[in-house]
């Protein structure tokens, strides 16, 4: 069933962390829309604000983080206006989340079954014990856990990393949320397990018609999973577009740098990986101009003094870079 309209609209969202050393603008004025049944990848290096952005969508920002501006509209409702109880009912039910480290994300002293059933009962008080149990077992089977009935009684430490992440996915999807936020769900896993988990997520996404925000720094995963991609750098979305645009027609130097630094199977023999020089900026003292300027190979004088405007490259492909505003030589003359 196709639904029209946007599932999620984020407008000019700003999130800051108020540390003793000063305000850190972790997310600085980002906007995007997400449709139903869509997979959006958010790519960026550590500290680029990609997780912070996702946490504010599910209302899990931790002190001293605060949304300082903008709006998050989910199915027409501004969730930033929700009170605590409304937010709680929203979490897990409409939007759920899975995390990076499955080793620590499950409570070690309760059985998997207990934690699965809890996810159901805290949104649906009326559900009977047997139904909840049945539904949990069903869900475990869906994510590919064999022997689900027996597994329900086991503790997290009796599960392997991949199995735990499967259980996490089951727990996240048990209430049939419209949106799943996956915060680097495969980073902590072995490569073979990674592939299996991605497979499970893909299948379930299709079965359950769930939209996914997929946060990762692994471009390979993005290519495999996502419809749309946002590339984040230092709290800003520097480029956004369809997965094909991003991979085949990257416009922003940072995106290009990311692609060049990624190993490829189809690469020319002994092609060298090109790292992005320099280190991420200090968000406490962001530069006056483009955040990426000091590390950019094509950095120009203006990049160091003014923030770049966003250029619309068509079909929802946008990029924030001064290069797009450069006139051809003949035009200048």
């Amino acid at each position: 069933m196709e639904q029209k309209g946007n599932l999620l609209e984020i407008k000019n969202l700003k999130v800051s962390f108020f540390t003793p050393a000063g305000e850190v603008k972790a997310v600085d004025d980002i906007s995007y829309n997400m449709g139903y049944n869509e997979v959006m990848g958010i790519v960026g290096e550590s500290g680029s604000g990609k997780s912070v952005e996702a946490y504010s969508v599910i209302g899990l920002l931790q002190n001293p983080g605060k949304v300082t501006g903008g709006s998050i509209i989910f199915e027409g409702e501004d969730i930033l206006a929700y009170n605590e109880e409304e937010m709680r009912k929203f979490r897990g039910n409409k939007v759920s989340m899975i995390f990076q480290n499955p080793m620590t994300c499950l409570n070690p002293v309760y059985t998997i079954g207990n934690q699965l059933i809890e996810a159901l009962t805290c949104h649906d008080k009326s559900i009977s014990k047997e139904d909840a149990r049945k539904r949990s077992i069903e869900m475990l089977e869906k994510v590919g856990i064999n022997n689900a009935e027996k597994r329900m009684e086991q503790y997290p430490h009796e599960f392997s990393g991949g199995m735990r992440q499967r259980a996490m996915i089951a727990m996240a999807l048990i209430c049939k949320p419209k949106l799943l936020i996956a915060d680097e769900p495969t980073t902590a896993l072995d490569v073979t397990i990674q592939a299996q988990i991605l497979e499970v997520m893909k299948d379930l996404q299709k079965q359950e018609n769930t939209s996914i925000i997929f946060i990762t720094h692994n471009l390979g995963v993005v290519a495999e999973m996502c419809d749309k991609v946002s590339v984040m750098y230092a709290g800003k979305i520097v480029e956004q577009g369809d997965v094909d645009d991003i991979f085949y027609k990257p416009a922003h130097p940072y995106t290009k740098g990311l692609l060049e630094s990624m190993p490829r199977l189809d690469a020319v023999e002994h092609e060298r990986l090109i790292p992005i020089e320099g280190t991420p900026i200090d968000l406490l003292n962001p530069p006056q101009g483009c955040n990426f300027g000091p590390r950019c190979k094509s950095c120009m004088k203006i990049c160091l003094s003014k923030k770049p405007p966003v250029a619309d490259l068509g079909k929802g492909h946008i990029s924030a870079c001064w290069l797009h505003f450069m006139k051809k030589e003949e035009e200048v003359k």
Binding site: R88, S96, V109, M171
Partner: protein, 313 residues
Amino acid sequence: MFSYIVKRILAAIATVLLVMTITFFLMNAIPGSPFLTEKSTPQQIELANEKYGLNEPYIIQLKNYVVNYFKGDLGVSLKMQEGADVGTIIFGQNKFLISIKLGLLSLLTSIILGIPLGCYAAYHRGSWIDGLLRVITTVGVAVPTFVLAAVLLIVFAVKLGWLPTLSGSLDNPLAYIMPVISLAFYDICYIAKLTRTSMLDAINQDYIRTAKAKGVKNKWIVLKHALRNSLIPVVTFLGPLTAGIITGSFVVETTFSIPGLGKYFVESVLNRDYPIIMATTVLLASLVIFMNLVVDIVYKFIDPRITYTSKEA
């Protein structure tokens, strides 16, 4: 599970035997014989010689001592109550009973008050109550038991006259109040601090974030997810807690003149009545070791991660 418990019990017994051995050799390290003093009567020398076979090699003496101990024969007092059987002194004159009552009351008080206070402080972190509790608990773990006992005595018994003073017995239930508070105060504060810290630690764990993301109510996040995890370090403190209460009872019983085992032990130490010292040490050490055993088993129930084939003694 069963084999785990058996293993722990065996380890505990081994530790008790070790304590007995240490005690025995320490006593034997004293010049002359531990069971005799310059003032010993010939009759006592005879008694002691007969009892412990003092002319036998040490190892045989130790064996006899251990065997006698388990038979319930704890020796004969040399000074405090000349010639009286130590077992009768300890168990027959209500000394042990009074101390056990006092100790258990303190143990319960410190747990019943400490854990909820710690939880409350952690849940309302940053509030003025949390601040106040932090000040109280921080000061509380710095006040020596005897100072607290003395202050209570001065304020409530001498100045205000609300509570019975230096009664010498504990027939009046009110007489328990001051000793129990003195004994338990340090532990209440320590447990509250410990619970608060481990609670806050638990609250910052990833699984709490998961629970929040699931939409679990805040109340349940604290009571279900955080509490049980944060109790693990508190449970491990029960062993030291028992040891601390025993130690504290020496001071508290002396301060309040309570005729319990603690006071008697201190007197026997000051009077160098060796058989009493030995018997009491072994008895109290066994209590602590028993408590450690209980902790190990309770621990197993709270934290499923502990494997059955856990550490040995």
